[in-house]
């Protein structure tokens, strides 16, 4: 207790602002769950979301987004400058910043992190690919680093604001030795690794040397319960405090009075959830016609599908951007479900029932039929496909459903060998549509596998990439969004929401624009009996 008071005193003297939490709010253990054990906690070569969740509490980046305003804020960097041409970004490190072993965070650590990411012998290709257009990262002085980019790109600032690892801890002679690090975690964040018991749990403990406002909660423990059902039962039995649940569990649990009494039920949109869509192969003659694609969208009753298949947990989307971002144009309304409008558009495009057999034909007498492909194994996909098949049959469109193993499916995408696909993209706070929509990404197994080719779209995408002014860039993206809405290369379906149950033991839980932020949470002293042990 005395030690706690002392550390609080130290914290309050180090900062002009008052401590965020009162002494009685400090302490406690937060108990969460991972559906799988992380493969490795290596700060750069990690492979799963679980490692990223751990890193979020152990490491810090130069800058990060404010969870409410979404603006960038300095974390390790006290401030930063972007040159007039946008190619040079200079970060000034906070002189107070310390790693958990007490060593100051310096420019050498930032340069070391960058060079390790870029080292071809280090298995960090997925991070390194963001730096393809980066010329380098150099130390100006102990507290100043400079990133230089070959091209102007609005994402350069975000990308440059890397998570920093200490050079004196991770320095290596043999890259293999670095790749194999799996449980050495030393960062400047508020927590450090307590213990990792394979098959049991992973525990983080408070970093007593933390250089900023200390978090309220002493320890964070994640168990490794692999079965969804077992994890939900552990939550109900009071062994977990915080659990993300699937929609099926949400609709089962939230009406229960005992659950309502004991848990905070949180439902929110997060950018990472991305969106689901039906992609029409624009290179196939059938779907090369905008009117046909638009007609297809008019035949997909998105609101009803969302309501009956996803329990209305999500929102219909009209474009590729996150609906809470500046990129998304809220004035664009989804095309309504309308058979008449669809038939009118199809007739205009030359498709009508000419032979009287109930199917639509074109002038050459060819029937309107196509293959709808997706990955097998997901019951939701199967249900949607069946409903669409039925709906299309009513207007005379013959849709065949083909569900493939994921690995076969990706080969079909790479070869543009499909008529229509149902898939999802994950998202970010601010997306760059280049990878998915630019015509240069059609060839060589790029992500524009539906072959969307539109000179105006290309121009807007390229212009936005070099526009550093956020407001001007958003205006360009609104035009791009509207163009996609008119062209309907995809039928955009919906964005799903995140669902979490958090025990009433945990206080201060707030939903921000970006979702939940563990920095807000506090528990206070663990109750004497059993509460500390999961």
């Amino acid at each position: 207790m005395l030690a706690l008071c002392l550390s609080l005193l130290a914290a309050s003297s180090a900062f002009a602002e008052p401590p965020r939490f009162a002494p009685e709010q400090m302490g406690g253990t937060l108990r969460g769950n991972f559906n799988a054990e992380p493969q490795t906690l290596n700060p750069l070569t990690y492979k799963d979301v679980y490692a990223a969740i751990v890193h979020d509490r152990v490491f810090e980046s130069l800058i990060d987004r404010n969870p409410d305003t979404l603006e960038f804020e300095g974390i390790l960097a006290e401030r930063w400058e972007v040159s007039a041409d946008g190619k040079v970004i200079t970060f000034y490190l906070n002189p107070k910043a310390r790693f958990s072993d007490g060593t100051p965070v310096t420019a050498d650590d930032v340069v070391f992190t960058y060079q390790t990411i870029m080292n071809p012998q280090i298995d960090a290709r997925s991070i390194a690919s963001y730096f393809e257009d980066c010329q380098g990262c150099e130390k100006v002085d102990d507290r100043t680093v400079r990133f230089t980019w070959k091209k102007v790109y609005f994402k350069s600032l975000e990308t440059s604001g890397i998570l920093v690892i200490p050079k004196h801890v991770y320095e290596f002679k043999d890259p293999k030795a670095f790749n194999e690090i799996n449980d050495k975690l030393v960062g400047s964040g508020p927590y450090q690794l307590g213990e990792w018991k394979t098959g049991q749990h992973l525990m983080l403990v408070r970093n007593e040397n933390y250089w900023r406002q200390p978090p309220a909660i002493d320890r964070v423990v994640w168990r490794f319960i692999l079965e969804d059902q077992a994890a939900v039962q552990a939550l109900l039995a009071g062994e977990l405090d915080d659990l993300g649940v699937a929609p099926e569990w949400w609709v089962k649990l939230t009406p229960r009075a005992d659950v309502r009494d004991r848990f905070q039920m949180l439902r929110y949109s997060s950018p990472g959830n991305g969106y689901t869509y039906i992609g029409w192969n624009n290179a196939r003659p059938l779907f090369a016609d905008r009117r046909v694609r638009l007609a297809m969208t008019h035949l997909v009753w998105r609101q009803e599908l969302l309501k009956y298949l996803l329990y209305d947990i999500g929102e219909v989307t009209t474009g590729p951007f996150w609906s809470k971002s500046q990129q998304y144009d809220l004035s664009i309304k989804p095309w309504p479900f309308s058979r008449q409008e669809a038939l009118r558009l199809l007739k205009e495009a030359g498709w009508q029932d000419r032979s009287g057999d109930g199917w639509l034909e074109n002038e050459k007498g060819e029937r309107f039929e196509f293959e709808f492909c997706s990955a097998a194994g997901n019951p939701l996909t199967r249900d949607i496909a069946r409903i669409l098949q039925e709906e299309f049959r009513r207007v005379g469109i013959d849709m065949h459903v083909r569900l493939y193993e994921w690995s076969v499916f990706t080969v079909k995408l790479d070869n543009h060998d499909f008529d229509a696909v149902m898939l999802g993209w994950s998202g970010a706070v601010e997306d760059d549509p280049y990878q998915i929509w630019h015509s240069s990404q059609i060839a060589d197994r790029g992500s524009n596998f539906i072959s969307f080719r539109n000179p105006e779209a290309d121009r807007l995408i390229e212009e936005a990439r070099v526009t550093l002014d956020a407001a001007k860039r958003s205006a360009i993206y609104h035009r791009f969004h509207r163009l996609l809405h008119e062209q309907q290369p995809y039928t955009f379906l919906w964005r799903r929401e995140s669902l979490r149950l958090v025990s009433n033991r945990v206080k201060g839980v707030k939903v921000h624009t970006l979702g939940l932020d563990w920095r807000d949470w506090w528990i206070g002293k663990d109750e004497a009996k059993g509460a500390a042990a999961p």
Partner: protein, 371 residues
């Protein structure tokens, strides 16, 4: 006898080759590219060019060098246009042959490494100490799986045999009918269903009695427990998993025991014993039981490999870090070295148990002779 054992051991070799070759081919010939799928799963939307290079690096590390690579080394590389591209829909016969050839070469390399005692490296599990040997990974997890299976096997023996005997002694009576019904039901319920139902009704936070732990084999902070507490805690955690591993075996062995005892009770020597005026209990427990236990012991030994298979399901449902879960994780990660090592181990184990079963049978019944 020695010749027989030697013969059996030699026969194991082609069987093992068959098992491993089949496993290898299934993993390698699965459609798509497992290595690229793995990279895609790890890092989301990765640039295809980077992915190709990464995939090649991993292949080299794993010895999954493809047929093209080998052909190029020996016959010179064809130009880009000549080189067939591995494409899904337009898969040509030559491509398919190439794939099979690649798999064959890969399998040959794996056997070659094995001959030098090299089991390869697990790509999923890495540790700072550099220990990535699949054997070490499996060895770490054997105690857990073995403990559960030994408890299960003992329970099967001590429950199934009395039940089978009682059913045989009271043939056609209510106990026989009731136990037959229950055993048939047990035999018919798949482990996945039993595990989920037990978890949902008897596990903590469940719908029913909800007292049993639901994941893992230890409570939090078990390191600080005394010996007695540790043992009690582990046994308590093992109840549901062991029940899942046990009920199928009980059903099988009880039915077998019943049939076996009935056969013996009808035998001439039993009639003789009864005719001599021996008390019924002595006839049953001394004469008939001893003879009917023989086949059951061998069957017991043969059920062991089956239990190991059951561990794959049970360990997944109850989040227990044993060899079964390790195999599931390896398969999901296309961790070829680990899959192959574990399959090899299971294969050898099964064959060894088969041999022991046969030897035990002959030892117990002098009428059986090795030829």
């Amino acid at each position: 006898m020695k010749t027989y054992i030697l013969k059996r051991l030699l026969l194991m070799i082609p069987t093992i080759v068959g098992i491993t070759l089949l496993t290898y081919l299934i993993v390698r010939l699965a459609p798509g590219d497992p290595i690229e799928a793995m990279i895609r799963n790890q890092s989301g939307n990765i640039d295809p060019k980077a992915m190709k290079e990464d995939a090649q690096k991993i292949r080299e590390r794993l010895g999954l060098i493809d047929y093209h690579y080998v052909r190029d080394r020996f016959f010179g590389a064809p130009s880009e246009e000549e080189r067939p591209q591995p494409t899904g829909a337009s898969y040509k016969v030559t491509d398919a042959l190439d794939t099979v050839a690649s798999a064959g070469i890969g399998y040959g390399r794996w056997v070659g490494h094995l001959a030098t005692g090299d089991f390869g490296e697990s790509i999923k599990y890495r540790t700072s100490s550099g220990s990535r040997n699949p054997l070490a990974l499996i060895a770490e997890r054997i105690p857990v799986t073995a403990t559960l299976n030994i408890i299960a096997e003992l329970l099967i023996f001590f429950i199934a045999i009395p039940v089978g005997l009682a059913a045989a002694r009271h043939q056609g009576k209510w106990f026989d009918r009731a136990s037959s019904f229950v055993m048939l039901a047990f035999w018919s319920v798949p482990t996945v269903l039993a595990g989920t139902v037990l978890l949902g009704f008897l596990g903590k936070g469940g719908l029913g009695w909800s007292g049993f732990p639901i994941a893992g084999l230890h409570s939090f902070g078990y390191e600080k427990f005394s010996w007695g507490e540790y043992l009690a805690d582990t046994l308590w955690h093992s109840v549901l998993p062991v029940v899942c591993l046990t009920y199928g075996g009980i059903a099988y062995l009880a039915k077998l025991g019943r049939a076996s005892l009935l056969e013996n009770l009808r035998a001439d020597y039993v009639r003789t014993a009864r005719a001599k005026g021996l008390p019924e209990s002595r006839v049953v427990y001394h004469h008939a039981l001893r003879n009917s236990l023989l086949p059951m012991i061998t069957v017991m030994v043969l059920t062991l490999p089956g239990l190991i298979g059951g561990s794959v399901i049970v360990e997944t449902i109850f989040s227990i870090q044993g060899t079964g879960l390790l195999l599931v994780n390896a398969a999901q990660a296309y961790d070829l070295a680990l899959i192959m090592t574990e399959t090899l181990l299971y294969g050898v184990l099964t064959l060894v148990f088969l041999l022991i079963g046969d030897l035990l049978y002959a030892w117990a019944d002098p009428r059986v002779r090795y030829e």
